[in-house]
């Protein structure tokens, strides 16, 4: 199949100064690709295009990728107006060209958010997510002998719910899909995953307070419950977790000892 690609090309990185994003400048460029097999993954199709660009002495398109099996959360493309493309519940690497038709025009853009400055072309800096995790997305474990794995009983239903939240791969599609570039689905998944389990309960109040404060400091927008995040999440994380985070946050703000 033959395709027309309109790809965001940006050579200079975006900068964030005094809470404002200064765009590095860039534009949509058009490329023609032919001989695309419908069995190729979206990233393989871009690999083919990059080979062509390299052969003709042009700069290849920069994009994030790693495991290519939908679990690392690196690939991050806004394809035809949707994060990770038109297919539900998949990452870009698992999107296959059979989802497109011969002669289609495909728009490919990076995640757009103040908190995700573009590094180059389609690659964005998602270290804001790392800083939110550093603010509280952990369980403090004092060193000592290894604890038996099944020492603390956890109800199957609780473990399942926590695991559902833990399937979040931190790709940032929720931010990309949200009209407010809000990170609440990501943060709520991480908050819930830890606070639902006994090991994480000890730090739950301080955790949610610190993670939400860091999320706000990074410049992510506020949630308006559109549900776009959950609809586009490659792991199908439910909006239920945002409600859970809201509860956690109200409870923590009202009762924690952090003044």
């Amino acid at each position: 199949m033959k395709l027309t690609l309109k790809v965001w090309r940006q050579s200079k990185p975006d900068k964030v100064e005094n809470g404002k994003l200064i765009s590095g400048g860039g534009k949509m460029e058009t490329y023609q690709v032919s001989d695309v097999s419908k069995d190729m993954s979206f990233l393989e199709m871009l690999d083919v295009l990059n080979e062509d660009l390299l052969r003709s002495g042009k700069e290849p398109i920069v994009f994030d990728h790693d495991c290519r099996e939908g679990i690392c959360g690196m690939c991050s493309m806004y394809i035809n107006g949707q994060p990770h493309g038109p297919q539900q519940g998949t990452t870009t690497c698992q999107l296959h060209m059979r989802s497109f038709k011969d002669g289609d025009t495909i728009y490919i853009e990076p995640w757009r958010a103040k908190a995700f400055p573009v590094i180059k072309d389609l690659m964005v800096d998602r270290s804001a997510f790392d800083r939110i995790m550093q603010a509280g997305g952990y369980v403090s474990v004092n060193t000592g002998v290894t604890v038996d794995a099944n020492e603390i009983p956890i109800a199957k239903s609780t473990a399942d719910k926590a695991f559902d939240a833990a399937t979040c791969i931190g790709c940032g599609a929720c931010v990309a899909a949200c009209k407010n570039a809000s990170a609440m689905l990501f943060v709520s998944a991480k908050v819930s995953q830890l606070s639902m389990l006994p090991q994480g309960k000890t730090e739950r109040k301080t955790r949610v307070e610190n993670m939400v404060a860091q999320m706000d400091a990074e410049g992510f927008g506020a949630c308006t419950n559109t549900g776009a995040c959950s609809a586009e999440c490659p792991k199908g994380i439910s909006m239920e977790y945002i409600a859970r985070m809201n509860r956690e946050y109200y409870g923590a703000k009202l009762t924690s000892n952090n003044v």
């Binding site: 965001w8 958010a113 800096d125 009209k179 407010n180 400091a217 506020a222 559109t226 609809a231 239920e240």
Partner: protein, 240 residues
């Protein structure tokens, strides 16, 4: 990178932190929204007396007199104005804040693939309701408070004949049209707003959410429909 990374600057008082956080601010929108949802129901029930009873407006006028003179209602009424203003201010502030979270727009975006029309346009639907509210207050509230309204006496008690004022206003098809269009805006605003309130309050549960969503759908159709019927029926009545 580390030098320019966003960090949490000096923390204000916890209470201020709470209500200036993104979650705290949307809680304000939700709580005021919930109050306004309840207000709509009470207001509709009161106003339906105009079309339910064929008594020349006696029931409605007596109800309006009670609402205008009961002290508890007066306090709630002040609260109502305050909550409307708070709802508008916090929503506008949040919307502007949310816009700044994405300074570079997408060249091609397909929001209809993942979210509803009302959920994406709350600020515009709310603006329709707000403009309507100003007109509505000028039409009725301001006239009854500061203007001269015809008097009527029931059982020796003299009061404003607000029913006559309503009849007079709704003889104008332009006003009727504005009211009906505004109620469509309100309907779409409620369609997202009703269920959104509960999500923000943290109520998203397998047992209650399906009920809340259904109730929200029924509420956002029936309440604006009820409000729209009043000007329509009174206009039709004025023609005969």
């Amino acid at each position: 990178m580390s030098a320019s990374n966003p960090t949490i600057s000096k923390k204000p008082n916890w209470f201020i932190q709470f209500f200036t956080s993104t979650i705290g601010r949307k809680l304000l929108v939700a709580l005021t929204g919930l109050f306004l949802i309840l207000f709509l129901a009470v207001h509709l029930i009161g106003n339906l007396q105009m079309i339910l009873f064929d008594d020349g407006g006696k029931a409605f006028n007596e109800y309006a007199y009670f609402m205008g003179h009961n002290e508890l209602i007066q306090i709630i009424s002040v609260g109502n104005f305050f909550f409307i203003i708070l709802h508008i201010i916090v929503s506008v502030v949040l919307t502007i804040y949310n816009r700044t979270a994405r300074p570079t727009k997408y060249a091609y975006s397909k929001p209809s693939a993942n979210s509803s029309f009302s959920s994406r346009n709350m600020i515009w639907l709310g603006s329709i309701v707000m403009i309507f509210l100003v007109l509505h207050l000028v039409n009725f509230w301001a006239k009854s408070k500061f203007g001269t309204v015809e008097q009527v006496t029931y059982d020796g008690k003299t009061m404003h004949n607000l029913y006559a004022l309503v009849v007079f206003e709704f003889e104008n098809p332009v006003i009727v049209g504005i009211y009906v269009v505004s109620m469509i805006g309100l309907s779409y605003h409620l369609l997202h707003g009703f269920q959104s309130v509960f999500q923000t309050l943290g109520i998203n549960h397998v047992k209650y959410t399906p009920f809340i969503k259904t109730l929200g759908l029924i509420y956002s159709i029936l309440v604006p429909l009820g409000f729209a019927l009043i000007p329509i029926l009174m206009y039709i009545k004025s023609l005969s």
